[in-house]
Amino acid sequence: MTSPKPAPPAVPPYADTSVRESVLRRIRNRPTTRGAAILLGVLVLLAVLAPVIAPQNPHDLASLSVMDNRLAPGSEGMNGMTYWLGTDAQGRDMLSAILYGLRTSLLVGLSSTAGALAIGIAAGLIAAQFGGAVDAAIMRVVDFMLGFPSILIALVLLASIGRGVDKVIIAIILVQWAQYARLMRAAALVERRKEYIEAAINFGLPTRHIMLAHLLPNSIGSVLVVSTISIAGAITLEATLSFLGVGVPVTQPSLGLLIANGFEFLLSGEYWISVFPGIALVLLIMSLNLVGDRLRRSFNVRGP
């Protein structure tokens, strides 16, 4: 318990405990968030620059030396090259494989999120604007999609259409659009009740104009904020599908597939084949989550 403090100033600025809490939280979280943002930037940069900075092109089978397979981190290969993170069963340099894997993981995560956002925003906007039977039909489908575990839907879909980077992206779009549709519809419905939209309707502006020029830009914010965390979800889903062997093809391994490839050697103590790509994946997911959560709190948006 604190002792009574000196007499209060005559005109204090405000008295709101929730304001105080949020300020404290912001100060407390700032170093973590900043660290996460820097880490995320570095990871994205590494992925973009992978072809330039990677010591080896891991997709080019000719440059691999099978004699160098499963070398421990720091070993020197037949060609005099030092494998800082070791090699896998094909003699592939793990560092290069991770840089390229990061590229594939980010590519899938970003493009599937973009696709799911586009479909979800369109569906949510249409549902909110037209209401009635259109709304009911769209939302039934959304409820239906959200009622089942996404991993199962994606798994079964990929089982029937086969593996491939494009197919994984399609599968992730299919399981993720519904959450954006729900968020977008809720945000657009709130916006639609505002006076300026009513004024625009009374003014006789065309529906398309109201949707695209007013409703869309004013209600898209919360959906975009949530999508930051959902990129992490998409990357996790891709990694899981690839780990299960129905995701990206072996010719273009993502981090998840690299981890899967090393799994069998984990038990014999050759940890690096799985563990290093795993660390890269964890860092990517955690930094996206931390940054996304910070954004969500700053804009005061509820999660999906």
């Binding site: 318990m1 009574p4 403090k5 209060p8 100033p9």
Partner: protein, 326 residues
């Protein structure tokens, strides 16, 4: 004179935030004699509810009781341990809360919520506790009490729930009941029924009641004595007849003028100009000064100390002259 049941002096309860500490209760003196009904009156924000909770040491952070004495039957409650306070609460000092819709746990049966008030204080079988609970319910006019005990709060109306709360307060025959605006959320007919019952039960059982309200009409109907609270302190106290018929503090007079049931028919209601100061912006000197028609220069300088006049006391530099309400 018998020794008082409750004797409060210089009670200060503050709320802390980043910018400092704000006194919600700022030096309250209060006496409750055994068996009497005392009305504690004030506008919202005057600190009357915080006073009620401070008496039983139920102030949670960021609130804190910082000074003053609370003596209950001679025992200093501010020095009492938490376990000692727990034994007193609900047993010797019972409370009734403002909103009957919020105070009963929605997922526990009425019987369980009444029984626990007995079983946490006395060793007794559950069956006997249920019997006592049923008796208490019929005492406050609830029919077929045994069946009602099986029910859940949502099956009761607001008035019925408040009767349950009163019955619960009576379970252990307490010496004091602190009732925090218990009839505010109820409609007028049910309010007067409950006032009547509380008065009757207080007389029958010899239980003292501290009735916290913003409504002078309730006090006039119910209480023996009244204490008027403003900006964290008691600015006038005395018998109901003294204070309501011959107020000395301008604020009390203002309250009387703005209360519908204390004004004669045909007469216009008067409003006190301005608003009560918020907890973090109290003026220097007398806290009522900015709204007071009788303010003197001295009122801005010095906070008036209580003046005593045969059990009637008030804090004012320029009190209303003695005599009936003008």
């Amino acid at each position: 004179m018998t020794s008082p049941l409750l004797e409060v002096s210089g009670l200060r309860t503050v709320f802390h935030d980043l910018r400092g500490s704000w006194p919600a209760v700022n030096g309250v003196d209060l006496v409750v004699q055994p068996g009497e009904i005392v009305g504690l009156v004030g506008e919202s924000g005057s600190g009357k509810s915080v006073t009620g909770f401070s008496l039983v040491q139920l102030i949670d952070p960021p609130g804190e009781i910082v000074s003053g004495d609370v003596k209950f039957k001679g025992e200093d409650l501010r020095q009492a341990s938490e376990e000692r306070m727990r034994r007193l609460r609900g047993d010797r000092i019972a409370m009734i809360f403002q909103d009957p819709l919020m105070t009963l746990n929605p997922v526990l049966s009425i019987g369980e919520q009444m029984c626990e008030a007995i079983l946490e204080h006395r060793v007794m079988s559950r069956k006997n506790a249920m019997r006592e609970a049923a008796q208490a319910l019929s005492r406050v006019g609830i029919s077929s009490p045994e069946a009602r005990l099986e029910q859940f709060p949502h099956e009761f109306s607001g008035g019925m729930r408040q009767r349950v709360a009163i019955a619960t307060a009576l379970l252990n025959s307490p010496d004091l009941i602190i009732a925090d605006e218990p009839t505010t959320a109820l409609d007028v007919t049910i309010q007067s029924q409950i006032l009547f019952e509380v008065q009757k039960l207080s007389r029958e059982t010899g239980t003292a009641v501290l009735w916290i309200t913003h409504d002078l009409a309730v006090v006039a109907e119910l209480a023996d004595r009244v204490a008027v609270m403003y900006a964290g302190r008691i600015i006038e106290t005395g018998t109901v007849d003294d204070v309501l018929d011959r107020p000395r503090h301008p604020y009390t007079l203002g309250l009387l003028g703005s209360s519908a049931s204390t004004v004669n028919p045909g007469e216009r209601l008067r409003q006190i100009s301005g608003a009560a100061p918020s907890i973090d912006a109290r003026p220097s000197g007398c806290p009522f000064r900015p709204r007071c028609e009788r303010a003197l220069p001295v009122c801005a300088e010095i906070d008036p100390a209580p003046e005593h006049d045969r059990g009637h006391s008030y804090c004012c530099h320029n009190p209303i002259p003695e005599g009936p309400v003008p």
